[in-house]
């Protein structure tokens, strides 16, 4: 091979396109947050802290020597505990060694199962309810499956789905039905009736595997019990993967420990993928969580409430605060809050705000009044089918720039080509604590931007 002058050698490489670059979506709001010194009600990162006893157990686990590679699918002490706790919830004996896989956070579980189950490029479909957690799209794309959605709609004061629409969307090519209960972003709890309807419809399509994203199952409001696990109904366990998040349960989303429960025939497919991706999971964190499981539900932690009870109360207080506050200023800001039954978020209907959002935000994506030499923030250049700037995106940009508060447009929680994509809702985090939420609302009301 003749040698070439290094200076003039043109490097031409082709890279795979396994996944769209959706980081851009969140980048706009991060940049707006920085530039306009915003308070964030955007990201689902809680304002609170994990319990002290969890931190202590972590350090103790390190001293005990849990610092090296462990059993890939979870340390025996931890998986045994999970089997006990969730065996009760699912009303069955769970085999800790074959039916539980510990993962690097719940998101990693979704990744491993979807990639492990989908035959790439064969048109296998994954059906979800929209609006939904946007990363579902990314996992499905990476697995080379086909993303398909059916709508959740706000009707008669609750989020509902149409069983007929669901039934028509299922077919031979459906591989997975991905159910998120307690739901992000709506906060909907699928009740027993909902779940029975889903069970009955899915029984007409017995080849469909269900992935039940149960990461918020404990975080229910208004004295409701934990959400009902799909896998606990009838024979559903045999076809269901249930995914849980230690980060959410222990208010330590950065610790990256999750777990999944499924029959071995299904779990083993995800296990092969995990062996190739994240391998073992953080060891001392597993032990710390294992030893904290009982305490978060039984030990008085704050003002006589257990850690979980307290988390539920704090989040519910913020939810109620936002609902009553938005209602109190509905003349000036005609936003309609949609009560959330669970989780980290509250949706608000901003349809009636169209007439008060400054033209600049509605007209185009050039909404900033730029200073000399300043370039625009990275923006999501997206449109509704009628060519308009999504109303919720316009609203959120207005809130960021002129009120100094970050919220998320719910249209980002639909596939960008989804035929059911709606732009009339905005998602607000109720996970940031009352102080932060009060300060944010003061800004929304139009008080001084300075704290």
């Amino acid at each position: 091979m003749e040698s070439q002058d290094n200076q003039e050698t043109k490097v031409q490489r082709k890279y795979p396109h396994r996944i769209d670059d959706n980081v851009a979506i969140w980048t706009e709001f991060r940049e707006l947050g920085d530039r306009y010194s915003c308070l964030s009600l955007g990201e689902g990162a809680p304002g609170g802290n994990p319990p002290d006893f969890l931190k202590d157990f972590m350090i103790k686990a390190i001293d005990e020597g849990y610092n090296q590679y462990q059993r890939i699918f979870g340390i025996p002490e931890f998986v045994n505990k999970i089997a006990d706790v969730y065996g009760e919830k699912l009303k069955r004996q769970i085999n800790p060694m074959t039916e539980i896989m510990v993962t690097a956070g719940a998101n990693s579980a979704l990744n491993s199962y979807i990639i492990g189950l989908i035959n790439p490029r064969e048109g296998e479909e994954v059906l979800v309810f929209e609006p939904c957690f946007p990363q579902y799209q990314d996992h499905i794309q990476m697995a080379e499956g086909v993303y398909k959605a059916v709508p959740l709609e706000w009707k008669e004061n609750r989020w509902t789905f149409d069983p007929e629409v669901l039934r028509k969307s299922l077919n031979d090519k459906t591989k997975i039905f991905l159910l998120n209960n307690a739901h992000n972003p709506t906060g909907k709890l699928f009740n027993r009736e909902d779940l029975q309807i889903l069970t009955d419809i899915l029984n007409e399509f017995p080849h469909v595997i269900v992935i039940s994203d149960d990461v918020y199952e404990f975080l229910t409001f208004d004295d409701q019990q934990s959400s009902i696990l799909f896998a606990s109904i009838g024979n559903n366990f045999e076809k269901t993967v249930s995914i849980f998040s230690g980060g959410k349960l222990f208010q330590a989303t950065g610790w990256k420990v999750g777990w999944s429960i499924a029959p071995n025939e299904i779990l083993s497919k995800a296990a092969i993928i995990q062996c190739c991706t994240t391998y073992c999971i953080n060891a001392p964190a597993q032990i710390a969580m294992s030893r904290s499981f009982d305490l978060i539900e039984t030990m008085p932690y704050t003002e006589g409430r257990t850690f979980v009870q307290n988390m539920k109360k704090e989040f519910q207080d913020v939810r109620d605060f936002f609902i009553s506050q938005f209602n109190s200023i509905s003349q000036e800001l005609p936003v309609v809050p949609l009560p959330s039954e669970s989780g980290y978020f509250l949706m608000i209907d901003i349809t009636n705000c169209k007439k008060i959002i400054p033209e600049r935000y509605l007209k185009s994506h050039d909404f900033e009044e730029l200073k000399e030499g300043q370039s625009a923030v990275s923006r999501n250049i997206v449109y509704m089918p009628d060519g308009s700037v999504p109303l919720d995106l316009a609203f959120c940009r207005w809130m960021a720039v002129e009120k100094g508060v970050i919220m998320m447009p719910a249209s980002l929680f639909y596939h960008k080509e989804s035929p059911i994509r709606d732009d009339k809702y905005v998602r607000i985090g109720i996970c940031k604590g009352l102080d932060h939420s009060r300060k944010a609302f003061d800004r929304i009301k139009g008080k001084q931007k300075m704290d």
Binding site: Y15, P50, I62, G116, H207, G254, W255, C275, C276, Y279
Partner: protein, 440 residues
Amino acid sequence: MEQAQHSFPHRVDDNTAVWAEFKDLTERYSCISLGEGAPAANPPQFLVDELMKAIQEGHNQYSRTFGHPILVQSVAEYYGKKLGQEINPLTQVIVSAGAYNVIVNALLALIRPNEGEEVLVFEPGWPCYIDLVQFAGGIYRPLCLQQKDGKWHFDAEQFKNSLNNNTKLFIFNNAQNPTGKIFTREELDEMSKILENYPNVIVLSDDVYEFLTYDGTQFTGFASIGDNFKKTLSIYCPGKMMCATGWQVGWAVGPEKLIKPVSLISTTQIYCANTPVQVAYGRALPQVDKPGYKGELSFVEHIRQEFQEVRDYMFKELSEGFDLPVEPLRSESGYFILLDISKCKELIPERYLKSHQFEELKEGQDPLKVNEVFMSDGSVPLDLAFCRWIAVERGVIMMPCSLFYHKESPYRLDQHVRLVICKGLDHSIKAIERLKSKRQ
């Protein structure tokens, strides 16, 4: 309800069986293990203190997807010095859930699946590369390291001839597993020159053992030579460096155009890496080279000394006064030493050489599930037979090196076994004493 029939993808061969055999042998025959590359020591107190501090300070929630600012700043400074390169912490560093995770994310990010893109790897080498290349949809192509007079050599002609227009990646594990070889400056220069003829080839420099050099040998990062930084991802493993392999955070540095695609895969898979561990590593990194950790030694110097002590002990004990004619090979770095066991063939009981059914089973005992692999002449690999014999009859686990080649590799040898030197002197002494005592 009718029984569901599912069809699942075959994205990668299930090779967990390979290691499972040795885990099962360990249990059944109550073995002391010199098999797995996990250190016995605990992480240093300064690292543990930093983790506690990070947790107490509230670093417990989601953090920056590419890597926590405190950590990436620290990584950019520390490895920038090593590589003689200004590293931009925000665009030239990616942090993932362990070095293993960074490696597979790099492969997924860079290899176009099923397009015939080739990945060159030295053998014997870390077997997981084989699985990960398959998973990414690439084609694994081995290069041969040959042993002569106690040293491992790479063949420049073979390297040159193995490169072609389909070569996408060269996975270069320096401070090599399992040989411990540190590639000399001359060898690196020669490789760099050859690669100039194939400027599209990306180098994945797996430098996870770069800190663990012996006998004062210098380690030179491939990315530090000439213009190599522009085409190289350098992978590092704080878990190995700070004896916390179970903490599962690792990182890579490289040019933005290589780092960015890796970060996209990482973000999808895990969103971000463990936050408090990242902060702890970020604050601990500047401390690892500070003198005064043990006497005048820095932490890294102390680790090197400890491991080298075990290496020297094992080398001596297995060279003299050992009833088996094994020949230990010099290891310049890392967690392992190799023994040449070719002269032991006549001593291995027939049962182990003849077939994979080597156990003398007790009443009611089921045979263990074993690796039914063969050499190209149809024989049971000699090193596998040796390791099974030593496990069953002497109660010590070692790893057969034939498992460190692709099972169809034309270079596959079965004359070496791999022992770890990372378990501390006490454990190693126990293992050697058991080995030598010919336990019944």
